[in-house]
């Protein structure tokens, strides 16, 4: 009777003994577990056209609005390719920073939204592997966004970011490091305060924007704000970008300060995340089945 029911339902059809699974030990850092979390996000993009378009939609919109505005401003001033380069370059680099930071926070939110958080954290994933996967996702997004924006900027505004070559690379990398730091801190806050804090995933980057001298030089800011600006790694990246676009040699001083301030930011981010994970394990936040 039981066998008949099982066959009818299709369940338990194969009564033959299951062969044992060949499984890795679980100890130590595992690139495969990092790949697993990355794959989980990549599946989402492969399956959803809307989600895939969203990666490029906002950056392209930004580029169009800021790009055409820069063209208009340049014409008002009687020309000036440098003005266009400053604004379009700043916009592209800003989007790199923003999208990487967002990729980290939103991939974590994805697990909260789908009630999958406990499944992930009862697997042998370590905190380092978890963060590594989200950071790599950010880099993959940057490659897609960066290439698309570079092509569009070249076609629409005759602004070829590759013309400036390697000198821009240290600033792009530093912006990615800054975004990792901010993304990790944002994720920690979402873990600590739940879905109520999810707006931070989109808002935190904009807290940096006014003080990072993204679209204007630091000298424009009032003196007290300039002091704040120079504590941010993003400021050195955007100031350095303007120097390179203006034809100056690579400002190594800015690169060095960007690295130092990013090291501090990433150190703080790691400490904050470790502390929040500890709190989460004390309060049962990883057992949450909703935000």
């Amino acid at each position: 009777m039981k066998a008949a029911r099982a066959v009818e339902s299709g369940m338990g059809r194969a009564h033959a003994t299951m062969p044992p699974a060949d499984v890795a030990s679980g100890a130590g850092f595992s690139a495969e577990r990092v790949f697993a979390l990355l794959l989980r996000q990549l599946y989402l993009y492969r399956r959803s056209m809307i989600r895939s378009l969203e990666i490029v939609y906002w950056p392209v919109m930004d580029l169009l609005v800021w790009g055409f505005l820069s063209v208009y401003v340049a014409r008002l001033r009687g020309g000036g390719a440098v003005a266009i380069a400053f604004l379009v370059g700043a916009m592209i680099l800003w989007d790199i920073f923003f999208r990487v930071q967002q990729a980290i926070s939103v991939s974590f939110l994805e697990d909260i939204w789908t009630r999958n958080l406990a499944n992930v954290f009862v697997s042998p994933i370590s905190t380092g592997e978890f963060l590594c996967a989200t950071m790599l996702l950010g880099v993959l997004k940057v490659i897609v966004i960066g290439l698309l924006l570079a092509v569009l900027a070249s076609a629409l505004y005759a602004f070829n970011i590759f013309h400036y070559g390697l000198p821009l690379l240290p600033f792009v990398l530093n912006l990615i490091f800054s975004a990792w730091g901010m993304g990790i801190i944002t994720t920690a806050l979402i873990l600590r305060f739940g879905q109520g804090a999810e707006a931070l995933a989109w808002a935190v980057a904009f807290l940096f924007q006014p003080f990072s001298a993204v679209f204007y030089p630091v000298q424009v800011l009032p003196a007290p704000l300039q002091a704040i600006a120079w504590t941010l790694p993003t400021t050195y990246a955007f100031e350095g970008m303007r120097a390179v676009l203006d034809g100056h040699p690579l400002p190594w001083g800015y690169v060095a300060w960007a690295i130092v301030t990013n090291a501090v930011l990433l150190g703080i981010a790691a400490a904050v995340f470790a502390r929040v994970m500890r709190i989460a394990r004390e309060l049962g936040l990883l057992l949450r089945t909703e935000g």
Binding site: K2, R5, A6, S9, G10, M11, G12, R13, A14, H15, T17, M18, P19, P20, A21, D22, V23, A24, S25, G26, A27, G28, S30, E32, R33, F35, A36, L37, L39, R40, Y43, L44, R47, S48, E110, D111, T114, R115, N116, L117, A118, N119, V120, F121, V122, S123, P124, I125, S126, R278, R281, E282, L283, G284, L286, L287, T289
Partner: protein
């Protein structure tokens, strides 16, 4: 009972968990032998989920010690979690990924070699082969529960932690899940530690029960023996008396 760590699948010694002034689990000690099916019972708020969370390393104990497969939790969290697994109807797999995509992700998380064959065999066994390309969010409750069990068996776990494995299933589907759990235990010698509010199920499935009330263990033993001790006919009667009157072991 001896709560030594040597041969036991799970050993819990003087475990307590407090959230501020609120005591959720108090001085809990028990052990589970390899291959045993143990039902973990108690009214809502008894501390079952909290205990399960501590066994899985999702929650840190305030006091006490846990050993799983002879290894201390949470110190050896990664090594333990590679050899156990968990399923709960309240913890979903991402509904926007297909059944196969979900299982592929978790196969990589657990380092399962030959994942494609393993996933195929488990889907076949649980009658989900036809659903492999369907988004997990479009499965019925019964299918979702079975998918959760497939995920939980991916790494051939030595211990299966299940939170209400038959909640929201109709009696037929629930019985099929119980049959499968018995088969898995018989074939692979898997230890099964599960919570349930279905007292008939607990009586039929468990080798032993642990009955928790207000964070304390009030009864432990084979279902029949516990019923005799409490002078009740069924676990359901015992459950109701504990929940409403807070009876304790005679």
């Amino acid at each position: 009972m001896d709560h030594g760590t040597a041969a036991a699948a799970i050993t819990v010694q003087h475990l307590s968990k407090r959230f501020g002034a609120l005591v959720v689990v108090e001085d809990l000690s028990f052990s589970v032998a390899p291959g045993e099916i143990v039902g973990f019972l108690g009214p809502n708020g008894a501390g079952k989920t909290t205990t399960l969370g501590m066994l899985l390393g999702l929650l840190l104990p305030t006091r006490g010690r846990i050993h799983v497969l002879g290894l201390p939790m949470p110190e050896e969290r990664q090594r333990i979690l590679a050899r156990v697994n968990f399923s709960s109807p309240y913890v979903a797999l991402p509904g926007n990924l297909t059944v196969r995509e979900n299982l592929t992700v978790f196969a990589h998380l657990y380092g399962v070699r030959h994942a494609r064959q393993r996933i195929g065999a488990l889907l076949e066994r649980f009658g989900l082969s036809e659903m492999r390309d369907r988004p997990a969010g479009r499965l019925s409750s019964g299918e979702s529960t079975r998918l959760g069990l497939v995920k939980a068996l991916l790494n051939d776990p030595a211990i299966l932690f299940l939170d209400e494995p038959t909640a929201s299933l109709d009696p037929d589907a629930a019985e099929r899940v119980r049959d499968t759990l018995r088969e898995v235990r018989a074939e692979r010698g898997v230890t099964i530690f599960y919570t349930s509010h279905n007292m008939q199920e607990v009586e039929r499935l468990s080798d032993r029960i642990l009955f928790l009330h207000q964070g304390r263990l009030i009864a432990e033993g084979p279902p029949g023996e516990v019923l005799r001790r409490f002078e009740r006919d069924t676990l359901e009667h015992m459950f109701l008396d504990v929940a409403r009157q807070g009876i304790s072991a005679p």
